[in-house]
Protein backbone atom coordinates (compact mmCIF):
# COMPACT_ATOMS: atom_id res chain seq x y z
CA UNK A 1 0.00 0.00 0.00
CA UNK A 2 1.58 3.29 -1.09
CA UNK A 3 0.67 6.91 -0.52
CA UNK A 4 1.66 7.64 3.06
CA UNK A 5 4.95 7.60 4.96
CA UNK A 6 5.41 4.42 7.10
CA UNK A 7 5.32 6.42 10.34
CA UNK A 8 1.76 7.50 9.53
CA UNK A 9 0.65 3.87 9.52
CA UNK A 10 2.25 3.42 12.95
CA UNK A 11 0.41 6.48 14.23
CA UNK A 12 -2.79 5.16 12.70
CA UNK A 13 -2.32 1.86 14.52
CA UNK A 14 -1.70 3.72 17.78
CA UNK A 15 -4.90 5.72 17.35
CA UNK A 16 -6.87 2.53 16.75
CA UNK A 17 -5.29 0.93 19.80
CA UNK A 18 -6.19 3.96 21.94
CA UNK A 19 -9.80 3.85 20.67
CA UNK A 20 -9.96 0.17 21.47
CA UNK A 21 -8.63 0.76 25.00
CA UNK A 22 -11.22 3.48 25.51
CA UNK A 23 -14.04 1.25 24.33
CA UNK A 24 -12.86 -1.51 26.68
CA UNK A 25 -12.81 0.99 29.59
CA UNK A 26 -16.34 2.14 28.73
CA UNK A 27 -17.62 -1.43 28.55
CA UNK A 28 -15.71 -2.66 31.60
CA UNK A 29 -16.87 0.21 33.81
CA UNK A 30 -20.43 0.01 32.42
CA UNK A 31 -20.38 3.58 31.12
CA UNK A 32 -21.68 2.64 27.65
CA UNK A 33 -25.32 3.46 28.42
CA UNK A 34 -24.48 6.74 30.05
CA UNK A 35 -22.01 7.76 27.33
CA UNK A 36 -23.78 6.12 24.42
CA UNK A 37 -22.80 8.70 21.79
CA UNK A 38 -19.17 8.68 22.90
CA UNK A 39 -19.23 4.89 22.57
CA UNK A 40 -20.74 5.21 19.09
CA UNK A 41 -18.09 7.79 18.19
CA UNK A 42 -15.27 5.46 19.25
CA UNK A 43 -16.79 2.35 17.68
CA UNK A 44 -17.47 4.17 14.42
CA UNK A 45 -13.89 5.45 14.49
CA UNK A 46 -12.61 1.88 14.67
CA UNK A 47 -14.98 0.64 11.98
CA UNK A 48 -14.17 3.60 9.75
CA UNK A 49 -10.48 2.95 10.21
CA UNK A 50 -10.84 -0.71 9.17
CA UNK A 51 -12.98 0.31 6.20
CA UNK A 52 -10.41 2.90 5.07
CA UNK A 53 -7.60 0.38 5.40
CA UNK A 54 -9.42 -2.02 3.08
CA UNK A 55 -10.25 0.73 0.57
CA UNK A 56 -6.66 2.04 0.53
CA UNK A 57 -5.35 -1.49 -0.01
CA UNK A 58 -7.82 -2.28 -2.77
CA UNK A 59 -8.00 0.98 -4.70
CA UNK A 60 -4.90 2.95 -3.66
CA UNK A 61 -4.55 6.01 -1.48
CA UNK A 62 -5.11 8.61 -4.25
CA UNK A 63 -8.06 6.87 -5.94
CA UNK A 64 -11.36 8.80 -6.16
CA UNK A 65 -13.18 6.09 -4.22
CA UNK A 66 -10.66 6.34 -1.34
CA UNK A 67 -11.15 10.09 -1.33
CA UNK A 68 -14.96 9.79 -1.17
CA UNK A 69 -14.94 7.07 1.49
CA UNK A 70 -12.43 8.99 3.65
CA UNK A 71 -14.47 12.18 3.64
CA UNK A 72 -17.77 10.36 4.14
CA UNK A 73 -16.25 8.75 7.26
CA UNK A 74 -14.99 12.15 8.38
CA UNK A 75 -18.47 13.70 8.07
CA UNK A 76 -19.98 10.84 10.10
CA UNK A 77 -17.21 11.22 12.69
CA UNK A 78 -17.89 14.97 13.09
CA UNK A 79 -21.63 14.30 13.50
CA UNK A 80 -20.95 11.59 16.11
CA UNK A 81 -18.56 13.93 17.89
CA UNK A 82 -21.15 16.72 18.10
CA UNK A 83 -23.64 14.27 19.63
CA UNK A 84 -21.01 13.03 22.10
CA UNK A 85 -20.20 16.63 23.15
CA UNK A 86 -23.91 17.42 23.66
CA UNK A 87 -24.23 14.22 25.67
CA UNK A 88 -21.40 15.17 28.06
CA UNK A 89 -22.77 18.69 28.53
CA UNK A 90 -26.23 17.27 29.20
CA UNK A 91 -24.73 15.07 31.93
CA UNK A 92 -22.95 18.06 33.48
CA UNK A 93 -25.93 20.42 33.30
CA UNK A 94 -28.80 17.99 33.83
CA UNK A 95 -29.34 18.96 37.49
CA UNK A 96 -29.58 22.65 36.46
CA UNK A 97 -32.61 22.53 34.17
CA UNK A 98 -32.94 26.27 33.64
CA UNK A 99 -29.30 26.77 32.70
CA UNK A 100 -29.29 23.76 30.36
CA UNK A 101 -32.51 24.88 28.62
CA UNK A 102 -31.12 28.38 28.08
CA UNK A 103 -27.62 27.26 27.14
CA UNK A 104 -28.29 24.68 24.47
CA UNK A 105 -30.53 26.97 22.45
CA UNK A 106 -28.03 29.84 22.58
CA UNK A 107 -25.09 27.67 21.69
CA UNK A 108 -26.89 25.87 18.89
CA UNK A 109 -27.26 29.37 17.44
CA UNK A 110 -23.53 30.05 17.88
CA UNK A 111 -22.62 26.74 16.22
CA UNK A 112 -25.04 27.43 13.36
CA UNK A 113 -23.57 30.88 12.77
CA UNK A 114 -19.96 29.61 12.70
CA UNK A 115 -21.01 26.68 10.47
CA UNK A 116 -22.73 29.07 8.05
CA UNK A 117 -19.61 31.22 7.93
CA UNK A 118 -17.57 28.04 7.23
CA UNK A 119 -19.73 27.24 4.20
CA UNK A 120 -19.29 30.79 2.91
CA UNK A 121 -15.53 30.58 3.52
CA UNK A 122 -15.23 27.27 1.65
CA UNK A 123 -17.35 28.43 -1.28
CA UNK A 124 -15.11 29.04 -4.29
CA UNK A 125 -11.91 27.92 -2.56
CA UNK A 126 -11.19 25.38 -5.33
CA UNK A 127 -9.06 22.43 -4.31
CA UNK A 128 -9.21 23.44 -0.64
CA UNK A 129 -12.99 23.31 -0.42
CA UNK A 130 -13.17 20.11 1.65
CA UNK A 131 -10.36 20.96 4.07
CA UNK A 132 -11.96 24.37 4.58
CA UNK A 133 -15.35 22.80 5.25
CA UNK A 134 -13.74 20.43 7.74
CA UNK A 135 -11.91 23.33 9.36
CA UNK A 136 -15.17 25.30 9.62
CA UNK A 137 -16.99 22.38 11.22
CA UNK A 138 -14.18 21.83 13.74
CA UNK A 139 -14.02 25.56 14.47
CA UNK A 140 -17.78 25.66 15.09
CA UNK A 141 -17.37 22.72 17.44
CA UNK A 142 -14.45 24.35 19.30
CA UNK A 143 -16.21 27.71 19.66
CA UNK A 144 -19.35 26.03 20.98
CA UNK A 145 -17.35 23.88 23.40
CA UNK A 146 -15.39 26.82 24.80
CA UNK A 147 -18.55 28.97 25.07
CA UNK A 148 -20.31 26.19 26.94
CA UNK A 149 -17.34 25.70 29.29
CA UNK A 150 -17.24 29.44 29.99
CA UNK A 151 -20.95 29.34 30.79
CA UNK A 152 -20.38 26.41 33.15
CA UNK A 153 -17.64 28.38 34.87
CA UNK A 154 -19.78 31.54 35.03
CA UNK A 155 -22.46 29.64 36.95
CA UNK A 156 -19.81 27.92 39.12
CA UNK A 157 -21.11 24.49 38.14
CA UNK A 158 -18.81 21.70 39.30
CA UNK A 159 -17.52 19.53 36.44
CA UNK A 160 -16.25 16.03 37.20
CA UNK A 161 -12.61 15.32 36.22
CA UNK A 162 -13.65 12.67 33.68
CA UNK A 163 -16.05 15.06 31.92
CA UNK A 164 -13.38 17.76 32.00
CA UNK A 165 -10.96 15.38 30.29
CA UNK A 166 -13.54 14.47 27.62
CA UNK A 167 -14.51 18.06 26.86
CA UNK A 168 -10.92 19.31 26.99
CA UNK A 169 -9.84 16.51 24.66
CA UNK A 170 -12.60 17.25 22.14
CA UNK A 171 -11.73 20.94 22.14
CA UNK A 172 -7.99 20.32 21.80
CA UNK A 173 -8.60 18.04 18.80
CA UNK A 174 -10.88 20.58 17.10
CA UNK A 175 -8.33 23.39 17.60
CA UNK A 176 -5.56 21.10 16.37
CA UNK A 177 -7.42 20.29 13.12
CA UNK A 178 -8.18 23.98 12.51
CA UNK A 179 -4.50 24.80 12.98
CA UNK A 180 -3.28 21.94 10.76
CA UNK A 181 -5.70 22.71 7.92
CA UNK A 182 -4.86 26.41 8.04
CA UNK A 183 -1.09 26.01 8.04
CA UNK A 184 -0.88 23.15 5.53
CA UNK A 185 -3.13 24.99 3.09
CA UNK A 186 -0.36 27.58 2.77
CA UNK A 187 2.69 25.42 2.36
CA UNK A 188 2.10 22.60 -0.04
CA UNK A 189 0.11 21.05 -2.84
CA UNK A 190 -2.80 18.98 -1.52
CA UNK A 191 -2.14 16.04 -3.83
CA UNK A 192 1.54 15.50 -3.03
CA UNK A 193 2.60 12.49 -0.95
CA UNK A 194 4.41 14.69 1.55
CA UNK A 195 1.36 16.87 2.09
CA UNK A 196 -0.88 13.86 2.71
CA UNK A 197 1.64 12.28 5.09
CA UNK A 198 2.17 15.47 7.09
CA UNK A 199 -1.56 16.24 7.18
CA UNK A 200 -2.59 12.72 8.21
CA UNK A 201 0.32 12.41 10.65
CA UNK A 202 -0.50 15.72 12.36
CA UNK A 203 -4.22 14.86 12.71
CA UNK A 204 -3.34 11.40 14.03
CA UNK A 205 -0.98 12.96 16.59
CA UNK A 206 -3.81 15.22 17.77
CA UNK A 207 -6.04 12.13 18.09
CA UNK A 208 -3.38 10.30 20.13
CA UNK A 209 -3.07 13.24 22.55
CA UNK A 210 -6.87 13.47 22.84
CA UNK A 211 -7.40 9.75 23.45
CA UNK A 212 -4.57 9.65 25.99
CA UNK A 213 -6.23 12.49 27.92
CA UNK A 214 -9.52 10.56 27.80
CA UNK A 215 -7.93 7.33 29.00
CA UNK A 216 -6.39 9.18 31.96
CA UNK A 217 -9.67 11.05 32.63
CA UNK A 218 -11.85 7.93 32.49
CA UNK A 219 -9.75 6.27 35.18
CA UNK A 220 -11.76 8.38 37.64
CA UNK A 221 -15.12 6.80 38.37
CA UNK A 222 -17.97 8.87 36.92
CA UNK A 223 -20.28 10.52 39.47
CA UNK A 224 -23.23 8.37 40.43
CA UNK A 225 -26.64 9.55 39.37
CA UNK A 226 -27.71 9.83 43.03
CA UNK A 227 -24.87 12.27 43.71
CA UNK A 228 -26.71 15.07 41.95
CA UNK A 229 -27.84 17.93 44.20
CA UNK A 230 -31.02 17.12 46.06
CA UNK A 231 -34.08 19.28 45.34
CA UNK A 232 -34.59 22.28 47.58
CA UNK A 233 -35.95 21.41 51.00
CA UNK A 234 -39.50 22.70 51.38
CA UNK A 235 -38.58 25.06 54.27
CA UNK A 236 -36.23 26.91 51.92
CA UNK A 237 -39.05 27.51 49.46
CA UNK A 238 -41.64 28.35 52.06
CA UNK A 239 -39.65 30.48 54.49
CA UNK A 240 -36.39 31.54 52.99
CA UNK A 241 -37.52 32.90 49.62
CA UNK A 242 -39.80 35.54 51.21
CA UNK A 243 -37.04 36.42 53.70
CA UNK A 244 -34.46 36.97 51.00
CA UNK A 245 -36.97 38.96 48.96
CA UNK A 246 -37.77 41.12 51.98
CA UNK A 247 -34.06 41.81 52.50
CA UNK A 248 -33.59 42.76 48.87
CA UNK A 249 -36.62 45.06 48.99
CA UNK A 250 -35.19 46.74 52.09
CA UNK A 251 -31.84 47.12 50.37
CA UNK A 252 -33.47 48.76 47.35
CA UNK A 253 -35.47 51.09 49.57
CA UNK A 254 -32.33 52.18 51.41
CA UNK A 255 -30.41 52.67 48.19
CA UNK A 256 -33.23 54.76 46.76
CA UNK A 257 -33.27 56.95 49.86
CA UNK A 258 -29.51 57.41 49.74
CA UNK A 259 -29.26 58.12 46.05
CA UNK A 260 -32.13 60.60 46.01
CA UNK A 261 -30.94 62.66 49.00
Amino acid sequence: MTGLAPIVYWLWALVDLAQLVLLVILIQKRYVRRLIFLSIYLASGLLGSACLFIVYRSYGFFSPIAFSVAWAINVFSIAAKVLAVVEVFRLVLEPFRGIWAMAWRSLAGVAGAVGFWAVLDADGSGRHVITRLERGAQLACAVTLVSMLLLVRYYAIPVHAAYKALLGGFCFYCCGVVLINTILEQISLPHSVYYQSIWSGAELLCSIVTFTVWIVGLRHPLPKVEERPAPLPSFVCEEMTPLVQARLRLLNKRLEEMLHV
Binding site: A101, V178, L259
Partner: protein, 182 residues
Protein backbone atom coordinates in the same frame (compact mmCIF):
# COMPACT_ATOMS: atom_id res chain seq x y z
CA UNK B 1 4.08 30.89 5.00
CA UNK B 2 2.01 33.19 7.22
CA UNK B 3 -0.27 35.62 5.48
CA UNK B 4 -3.26 37.81 6.22
CA UNK B 5 -5.58 34.82 5.82
CA UNK B 6 -3.63 32.49 8.13
CA UNK B 7 -2.90 34.82 11.04
CA UNK B 8 -6.56 35.36 12.16
CA UNK B 9 -7.01 31.58 12.42
CA UNK B 10 -3.83 31.20 14.46
CA UNK B 11 -5.04 33.97 16.77
CA UNK B 12 -8.51 32.39 17.08
CA UNK B 13 -7.01 28.99 17.94
CA UNK B 14 -4.63 30.56 20.49
CA UNK B 15 -7.53 32.45 22.12
CA UNK B 16 -9.71 29.30 22.16
CA UNK B 17 -6.95 27.22 23.76
CA UNK B 18 -6.29 29.96 26.32
CA UNK B 19 -9.99 30.18 27.20
CA UNK B 20 -10.19 26.39 27.37
CA UNK B 21 -7.31 26.25 29.87
CA UNK B 22 -8.90 29.03 31.92
CA UNK B 23 -12.35 27.44 31.89
CA UNK B 24 -11.03 24.03 32.92
CA UNK B 25 -8.74 25.15 35.74
CA UNK B 26 -9.82 24.54 39.31
CA UNK B 27 -12.07 27.38 40.52
CA UNK B 28 -10.29 29.62 43.00
CA UNK B 29 -13.42 30.57 44.93
CA UNK B 30 -15.77 28.16 46.58
CA UNK B 31 -18.84 27.14 44.68
CA UNK B 32 -21.79 28.87 46.24
CA UNK B 33 -23.68 26.57 48.60
CA UNK B 34 -27.41 26.78 49.16
CA UNK B 35 -27.77 29.40 51.91
CA UNK B 36 -28.79 28.49 55.40
CA UNK B 37 -30.61 30.68 57.89
CA UNK B 38 -27.32 31.28 59.70
CA UNK B 39 -25.79 32.85 56.63
CA UNK B 40 -28.85 34.79 55.49
CA UNK B 41 -27.55 37.96 57.12
CA UNK B 42 -24.36 37.57 55.11
CA UNK B 43 -26.12 37.19 51.80
CA UNK B 44 -27.03 40.76 51.06
CA UNK B 45 -24.81 43.79 50.69
CA UNK B 46 -23.64 45.43 53.91
CA UNK B 47 -21.03 48.03 52.96
CA UNK B 48 -23.28 50.25 50.84
CA UNK B 49 -24.84 51.75 54.00
CA UNK B 50 -21.70 53.90 54.51
CA UNK B 51 -22.30 55.50 51.14
CA UNK B 52 -23.68 58.89 52.42
CA UNK B 53 -20.64 59.42 54.69
CA UNK B 54 -18.22 58.55 51.88
CA UNK B 55 -20.09 60.76 49.44
CA UNK B 56 -19.77 63.67 51.83
CA UNK B 57 -16.10 62.86 52.37
CA UNK B 58 -15.21 62.97 48.68
CA UNK B 59 -17.52 65.90 47.97
CA UNK B 60 -16.26 69.30 46.77
CA UNK B 61 -17.71 71.18 49.77
CA UNK B 62 -15.59 69.25 52.25
CA UNK B 63 -12.50 69.65 50.10
CA UNK B 64 -13.01 73.43 49.83
CA UNK B 65 -13.55 73.73 53.57
CA UNK B 66 -10.28 71.88 54.22
CA UNK B 67 -8.41 74.05 51.75
CA UNK B 68 -9.65 77.20 53.49
CA UNK B 69 -9.24 76.21 57.14
CA UNK B 70 -6.41 73.64 57.43
CA UNK B 71 -2.68 74.00 56.89
CA UNK B 72 -1.34 72.41 53.67
CA UNK B 73 0.39 69.58 55.56
CA UNK B 74 -2.70 68.75 57.61
CA UNK B 75 -4.80 68.97 54.48
CA UNK B 76 -2.51 66.49 52.73
CA UNK B 77 -2.62 64.09 55.65
CA UNK B 78 -6.39 64.21 55.85
CA UNK B 79 -6.68 63.72 52.11
CA UNK B 80 -4.45 60.64 52.26
CA UNK B 81 -6.47 59.24 55.15
CA UNK B 82 -9.76 59.86 53.30
CA UNK B 83 -8.33 58.22 50.22
CA UNK B 84 -7.50 55.13 52.26
CA UNK B 85 -11.03 55.01 53.69
CA UNK B 86 -12.53 55.50 50.22
CA UNK B 87 -10.46 52.56 48.93
CA UNK B 88 -11.76 50.40 51.76
CA UNK B 89 -15.31 51.46 50.95
CA UNK B 90 -14.72 50.65 47.29
CA UNK B 91 -13.49 47.18 48.19
CA UNK B 92 -16.60 46.81 50.35
CA UNK B 93 -18.86 47.80 47.46
CA UNK B 94 -17.17 45.18 45.32
CA UNK B 95 -17.78 42.66 48.06
CA UNK B 96 -21.45 43.69 48.17
CA UNK B 97 -21.73 43.20 44.44
CA UNK B 98 -20.03 39.80 44.63
CA UNK B 99 -22.50 38.70 47.34
CA UNK B 100 -25.46 39.69 45.19
CA UNK B 101 -23.95 37.92 42.20
CA UNK B 102 -23.35 34.79 44.22
CA UNK B 103 -26.97 34.83 45.31
CA UNK B 104 -28.03 35.37 41.68
CA UNK B 105 -26.00 32.33 40.62
CA UNK B 106 -27.70 30.21 43.30
CA UNK B 107 -31.11 31.40 42.11
CA UNK B 108 -30.17 30.63 38.48
CA UNK B 109 -29.01 27.15 39.45
CA UNK B 110 -32.29 26.45 41.25
CA UNK B 111 -34.55 27.96 38.64
CA UNK B 112 -36.20 25.51 36.22
CA UNK B 113 -36.50 28.24 33.60
CA UNK B 114 -34.12 31.11 32.88
CA UNK B 115 -34.75 34.17 30.75
CA UNK B 116 -31.82 34.70 28.39
CA UNK B 117 -32.52 38.43 28.31
CA UNK B 118 -32.34 38.89 32.06
CA UNK B 119 -29.24 36.69 32.37
CA UNK B 120 -27.52 38.78 29.68
CA UNK B 121 -28.60 41.92 31.53
CA UNK B 122 -27.04 40.61 34.72
CA UNK B 123 -23.83 39.82 32.86
CA UNK B 124 -23.87 43.34 31.40
CA UNK B 125 -24.33 44.83 34.90
CA UNK B 126 -21.40 42.77 36.19
CA UNK B 127 -19.15 43.93 33.34
CA UNK B 128 -20.18 47.57 33.84
CA UNK B 129 -19.53 47.27 37.56
CA UNK B 130 -16.06 45.81 37.01
CA UNK B 131 -15.16 48.51 34.49
CA UNK B 132 -16.41 51.34 36.69
CA UNK B 133 -14.68 49.79 39.69
CA UNK B 134 -11.34 49.85 37.88
CA UNK B 135 -11.88 53.49 36.84
CA UNK B 136 -12.79 54.64 40.37
CA UNK B 137 -9.86 52.67 41.78
CA UNK B 138 -7.52 54.40 39.31
CA UNK B 139 -9.06 57.74 40.27
CA UNK B 140 -8.29 57.03 43.92
CA UNK B 141 -4.73 55.96 43.13
CA UNK B 142 -4.26 59.29 41.36
CA UNK B 143 -5.49 61.14 44.42
CA UNK B 144 -9.12 61.99 43.74
CA UNK B 145 -12.51 60.50 42.94
CA UNK B 146 -15.52 61.75 41.06
CA UNK B 147 -18.54 61.49 43.35
CA UNK B 148 -20.76 60.86 40.31
CA UNK B 149 -18.87 57.66 39.56
CA UNK B 150 -19.34 56.41 43.10
CA UNK B 151 -23.06 57.14 42.76
CA UNK B 152 -23.18 55.13 39.52
CA UNK B 153 -21.32 52.26 41.13
CA UNK B 154 -23.79 52.17 44.02
CA UNK B 155 -26.72 52.42 41.59
CA UNK B 156 -25.44 49.30 39.83
CA UNK B 157 -25.77 47.43 43.11
CA UNK B 158 -29.37 48.64 43.27
CA UNK B 159 -30.07 47.48 39.70
CA UNK B 160 -28.59 44.04 40.40
CA UNK B 161 -30.62 43.78 43.57
CA UNK B 162 -33.87 44.66 41.73
CA UNK B 163 -33.15 42.10 39.07
CA UNK B 164 -32.36 39.49 41.66
CA UNK B 165 -35.63 40.26 43.40
CA UNK B 166 -37.52 39.57 40.16
CA UNK B 167 -35.55 36.35 39.65
CA UNK B 168 -36.45 35.16 43.15
CA UNK B 169 -40.07 36.09 42.50
CA UNK B 170 -40.00 33.98 39.32
CA UNK B 171 -38.42 31.12 41.24
CA UNK B 172 -41.06 31.31 43.97
CA UNK B 173 -43.75 31.08 41.26
CA UNK B 174 -42.32 27.69 40.34
CA UNK B 175 -42.14 26.73 44.01
CA UNK B 176 -45.72 27.76 44.80
CA UNK B 177 -47.72 27.66 41.59
CA UNK B 178 -50.93 28.16 43.54
CA UNK B 179 -49.72 31.48 44.99
CA UNK B 180 -49.42 32.95 41.55
CA UNK B 181 -53.17 33.11 41.18
CA UNK B 182 -53.60 35.22 44.31
Amino acid sequence: MLNAYTIPFLVIVAVLLGLLAWALRRPSRRTAPIPSFASLEELGPIHFRYFPIILQMVGAADRDFMARHASPSLSRRIRAERCRIAKQFLAGLRNDFARLNRLAVIVAKLSPRLERKSELRRLGLALRFQLLYVIVRLDLELGGVAASRLVRLTRLIGSTSSQLNSAIHELSKFSFPADDAT
